[in-house]
């Protein structure tokens, strides 16, 4: 057991998988010699060499196309898209090619690849470097979508993603890179498609993702001291979605709150709300409440960004108003 940062967990996960399997290769901008602009991948070039850990030009389409072509011909590439906002410059490769090609070919080709990316806001980077775009990916059939909230999950879920035979978009949260957590020694492999119940409470379920998980937990702590007991679910995996765990908790509490960093419309919270309102309708004791960033681009100034993203106070307030 050791204290590890979220960013160090990334490098450890990649190293764990590269040691195990020669077909795992890693490419991206500034990831090799420089160890990544978020310093999440130092040491990999030294350990695995320039054939397996490769710096690329600023050519996101070429990066993801290379990952795709390599995956369909026997490798298991991990590609980095530096900031998740940059998925937009290579979205075609992701949604039209990687996501659809197994289906279109009637299963002739496999895409065991991972695209990891720095997602989310809170660092005052402004509208083009702060987006949470996991919902873009969730809306497209053929992509698995993962977003870990802590160092241990980074390792376990990234390892599982690398071993998965399907394409996985792995959303690391930029604001969590410096966060520390306890991580067991030795190999860690988790399971995609599993949510984690972090806390049980009878009054409501709060489902959160990525950097919103610590906020949801903090909110649950405060609510508890005000007499409201919340179940907190770390969704972790948007596709596959662990509906069983989530529906079970909602059936028990009768209330659902989602805490989403993505802008309001058509996020995973909406999907969850729709599933629950269709399938748990009679278990619900009150409206489902989505706590989201408003439907605006993100501002750069700290004071504005802080009121944009769901805060602990906003979660507490929303739950108390609805449940209290």
């Amino acid at each position: 057991m050791a204290q590890l940062t979220y960013r160090a967990a990334v490098a450890r996960a990649i190293a764990q998988e590269m040691r195990r399997d020669d077909s795992v290769v890693f490419l991206g901008e500034d990831v090799a010699a420089a160890g990544g602009v978020f310093k999440a991948t130092p040491g990999l070039l030294d350990e695995f060499g320039a054939e397996r850990v490769r710096d690329t030009p600023i050519s996101e389409q070429a990066i993801l196309g290379a990952a795709m072509g390599a995956a369909m011909t026997g490798l298991r590439p991990i590609a980095e898209i530096m900031f998740a906002d940059f998925f937009a410059v290579a979205w075609d490769i992701v949604v039209n090619e990687i996501a659809k090609s197994r289906y279109m070919t009637n299963g002739q080709v496999s895409f065991p690849l991972v695209i990891r990316s720095g997602n989310g806001g809170g660092l005052r980077f402004g509208a083009q470097h702060s987006q949470s775009v996991e919902n873009w990916a969730m809306a497209v059939p053929g992509l698995k979508v993962i977003a870990p909230s802590n160092p241990r999950d980074v390792i376990g879920l990234l390892a599982a993603a690398v071993r998965d035979p399907d394409p996985v978009l792995f959303f690391e949260h930029k604001a969590l890179y410096a966060a520390k957590g306890e991580v067991p020694d030795g190999e860690i492999v988790d399971e995609l498609g599993t949510a984690r119940v972090l806390r049980r409470g009878r009054d409501c379920t709060i489902a959160a993702l990525g950097a919103m998980v610590p906020r949801a937990l903090a909110a649950a702590g405060q609510l508890s001291s005000q007499g409201i007991e919340a179940t907190v679910v770390d969704v972790r995996s948007l596709v596959p979605l662990d509906t069983a765990t989530i529906l079970e908790t909602v059936a028990a509490t009768g209330r659902l709150f989602t805490v989403e960093e993505n802008p309001r419309l058509c996020g995973w919270g909406a999907e969850l709300a729709s599933i629950v309102s269709e399938e748990c309708f009679h278990d619900l004791d009150g409206p489902i409440v989505r706590i989201t960033t408003p439907h605006v681009p993100l501002p750069a100034a700290d004071v504005l960004e802080d009121i944009a993203l769901p805060s602990v106070a906003r979660v507490v307030e929303s739950v108390r108003t609805a449940v209290g």
Binding site: G65, A66, M68, V109
Partner: protein, 335 residues
């Protein structure tokens, strides 16, 4: 256009016969596809290679088993070139269960991994980057495989083209980029939208590559060009970018009668139709007319047979709708 005099050792006569056979097969196949379209047996859309057969045929012969083809929506010929059975391709065009992909992909996405046909891609540009990935895999595994990627003149103006060719050059990937310059994107002349005369060759230097312009309607020239580029890739010398000049006889796709093209232009290119041109070449090289006629007859019959077999296929089973999104064979996004 470079000379049609081959500057490589002469081509073996069996190779020439195979080049002719493939061109014939493509020609008959594409005409049949057109007819079936007119009978509403082929649905959706389809993009024929009529007039451009020499290019796909040449690479089909020059490539080795294990090499990879990356084609476009205009990919029937390139698929057949690797030995994929006509029945499966026709059936795919007709959306039948016996189609190459069970009807799930359609005309624009022909794929047969077994034959090294790693897909046909219908959004301009993407597959150049994907071909790089296969080439990277070959390079990393030292497998000696080569990826060949076909695309059109219009494709040279999209961003992915630029990213892919630079990337291939920097990583010295074993990939061959083949631009089939048929003078038009869909309906717009390439010259109207391109800053240089030769959309691929005039860009080669931007990636440190040699400009290569060849007569895409001469199967011998194409074959020798293909051999050279594939060999270069296999030897580790890196990518090539080839511009093959050619012309499509019909419109861009089913929906297009191709009326935007001057009659003289069409006439001039029909004069240079690769199939009769190659037939004359073979005759002049002494191949007996009867041998050619036997081959022509055999190919025509094979297309007829494939048509009947394809037509006999049932529609795909409804279960296919939900299959093979994932490697476990299913499509479930939740537990």
């Amino acid at each position: 256009m470079t000379s049609t005099v081959p500057d490589l050792p002469d081509i073996a006569s069996e190779t020439r016969m195979e080049l002719y056979r493939l061109q014939l097969e493509m020609r008959h196949f594409e005409k049949r596809a057109y007819d079936l379209f007119m009978q509403s047996l082929v649905k959706g859309t389809s993009h024929l290679s009529l007039g451009q057969e020499a290019i796909a045929a040449a690479f089909g012969v020059a490539m080795m088993p294990g090499d990879w083809t990356f084609a476009t929506y205009r990919g029937h010929a390139h698929t057949l070139a690797r030995g994929v059975p006509m029945t499966a391709v026709l059936a795919e065009l007709m959306g039948r269960a016996n189609g190459l992909m069970g009807g799930k992909g359609g005309s624009m996405h022909l794929t047969s991994v077994e034959h090294g046909v790693m897909g046909s891609y219908a959004i301009i540009g993407a597959h150049l980057t994907i071909a790089n990935g296969a080439a990277w895999s070959a390079q990393y595994r030292r497998s000696g495989q080569v990826a060949v990627c076909f695309f059109g003149d219009g494709t040279t103006n999209i961003g992915a083209f630029h990213e892919a060719v630079n990337f291939a050059a920097v990583w010295k990937l074993p990939v061959v980029f083949v631009c089939e310059n048929n003078l038009y994107m869909e309906y717009t002349p390439i010259a109207a939208v391109t800053a240089v005369d030769r959309p691929a060759a005039d860009r080669a230097a931007a990636y440190g590559l040699e400009p290569v312009v060849v007569d895409g309607n001469d199967a011998d020239v194409m074959y020798q060009t293909a051999v050279r580029a594939v060999e270069r890739a296999r030897s580790g010398a890196g990518p090539s970018l080839i511009e093959a000049l050619t012309y499509r006889h019909g419109g861009h796709s089913r929906a297009d009668p191709g009326k935007y093209r001057p009659a003289e232009e069409i006439a001039a290119w029909l004069e240079r139709d690769p199939v009769p041109l190659y037939r004359s070449r073979l005759l002049s090289l002494g191949v007996p007319r009867a041998e050619l006629e036997r081959l022509e007859q055999a190919v025509a019959e094979a297309v007829d047979l494939a048509t009947e077999e394809a037509k006999a296929g049932p529609p795909p089973a409804p279960e296919l709708l939900m299959s093979d999104v994932w490697a476990d064979g299913g499509s479930s996004w939740r537990n």
